[in-house]
């Protein structure tokens, strides 16, 4: 009789122990995974910072080297008039490739998603899409823009604008609203062409997109930080 009691007691104790361990483990797991997660995130954050630092360092290094190269080109071109012309051509080319920061007159266009819901049923049309950016840049080029940037990203010949979900990328860099498009050229001509009745900006306004256009005397457009690399194309003489 007493043995039965002991057995029952042991059984109950074991059961309670199990429950206890279960509860305990569950708590431990949730804290551990939360901690583990933040730990992993911190690790990642650290490496992101580390790579960014490496990039910054390489960037500074490049600036120094480029300045040195410029000096060497200078020395190389002083020998003759012909070489001076070559150097001037090279400088012009580097500017056209987007390798220098440029300054000049022009216009600034700001595009924002509609702030209030328009009476249109299609809400999507009142948002700024990647296609809108491509169209506006194209319209600027058509009006003779010499340099264009969107949110600080220089638009060069190899620039692609992509859209994945609701993230727009230019030169593989994320850009978001408001979109500030800077263009250097004749401010009168650019302004006139872009505000033209029936033009693309007109269409955007009709769709409910908030558009601001401003003529400016001085606009600075940053340089392109990417690379040009031809692997497949060969020059045909």
């Amino acid at each position: 009789m007493q043995e039965k009691k002991i057995a029952a007691l042991l059984g109950i104790m074991c059961f309670m122990l199990t429950v206890g361990i279960c509860v305990q483990m569950r708590t431990v797991t949730s804290t551990a995974s939360r901690m583990g997660r933040t730990y992993a995130e911190n690790e990642l954050r650290d490496s992101v910072l580390k790579w960014k630092e490496k990039y910054d360092l390489a960037y500074d290094n490049l600036e120094t080297k480029e300045a040195k190269l410029d000096k060497l080109r200078e020395t190389a071109s002083t020998s003759s008039e012909a070489s001076e012309n070559v150097k001037a051509g090279l400088e012009q080319n580097n500017m056209a490739l987007g390798f220098t920061e440029v300054i000049g007159s022009g216009i600034t266009i700001t595009l924002k998603d509609a702030e209030v819901a328009t009476n249109k049923l299609d809400l999507s049309s009142s948002l700024v899409h990647y296609s809108d950016l491509i169209e506006v840049i194209n319209a600027l080029k058509n009006a003779g823009a010499e340099a264009v940037s969107v949110n600080g990203e220089r638009i060069v010949n190899v620039t692609a604008i992509t859209c994945a979900g609701n993230i727009i990328k230019i030169n593989n860099e994320k850009v978001g609203v408001p979109f500030v498009i800077n263009a250097i050229g004749s401010s009168e001509k650019l302004y006139g062409a872009l505000t033209m009745h029936g033009g693309y900006i007109d269409k955007l306004k009709e769709d409910g997109v908030t558009v601001e256009i401003e003529k400016k005397d001085t606009i600075t457009i940053p340089k392109y930080n990417g690379v040009y690399k031809f692997e497949y194309a060969k020059v045909v003489e």
């Binding site: 043995e3 440029v102 010949n157 690379v227």
Partner: protein, 230 residues
């Protein structure tokens, strides 16, 4: 005797339950770990990390190029004729990137045609140029007009599209040099360019080629309003 058996059985049972619960617990732990890795924040951080790595690598490439140019100039510092040649070499290279040279290489040719229902418009061309650039196209032309940094693709009337200031009628032949597999998949991807064109009943044909020839830009990129900010 009977009491001993009861005791052994109840202890055995309790141990069995305990073991089962523990194993279940271990399984759950494993599963939670997997979902923890896939959280949004971490994914974002991973993308960010990959992004900076790519940027750094690009910067390294540029740095190496600049360094080798410096070395070239320095090795010829006493020989002015030689350093002139280096300058010219640099000029030629930038000419190539800008579109001033006729190029040849593997790539793709896409033909866009008007049909009885639809006509090819500006966006069809702007869009394919953008897609091809994204796929790493090194040179692009439309009906012999080289696409350069200041090229416009504009609508003029209903029959022409203006490219580099020239009126171009349909059909449009878009040529691109680059990795032919990338270029092909960039436009044939599900829901991509060709799918979209078909959705609008537009006529698109393409051919992957080992040799695509792309003419040079006949104009010159000029700056009247922009100057270098030193």
């Amino acid at each position: 005797m009977k009491g001993k058996y009861t005791m052994i059985i109840s202890i055995g049972l309790a141990t069995l339950i305990l073991t089962t619960v523990m194993f279940t617990q271990f399984k759950t732990v494993e599963q939670t770990d997997i979902t923890a890795i896939e959280t949004m924040r971490e994914t974002e951080l991973r993308t960010e990390l990959a992004n900076w790595k790519t940027k750094y690598e690009e910067m390294e490439i540029k740095l190496t190029e600049t360094e080798s140019k410096i070395a070239e100039y320095q090795s010829q510092v006493s020989n002015s004729a030689e350093s002139e040649t280096i300058l010219e070499k640099e000029l030629n290279e930038t000419d190539m990137y800008l579109g001033y040279k006729k190029l040849q290489g593997e790539g793709i040719e896409v033909v866009l045609k008007d049909n009885s229902n639809t006509a090819i418009d500006r966006w069809d061309l702007l869009s394919i140029v953008n897609e091809l650039k994204l796929a790493g196209a090194e040179a692009i032309s439309i009906n012999g007009e080289r696409i350069v940094s200041n090229t416009e693709i504009a609508t003029v009337g209903t029959q022409f599209i203006l490219i580099n200031g020239n009126r171009i009628p349909a059909p449009f032949t878009v040529k691109a040099i680059g990795d032919k597999k990338y270029l092909e998949s960039a436009i044939t991807i599900k829901g991509g360019y060709i799918d979209e064109m078909k959705l609008y009943e537009k006529t698109v044909e393409y051919e992957v080629k080992d040799i695509v020839e792309i003419p040079a830009y006949s104009g010159k990129i000029k700056f009247e309003y922009a100057e270098e900010n030193k």
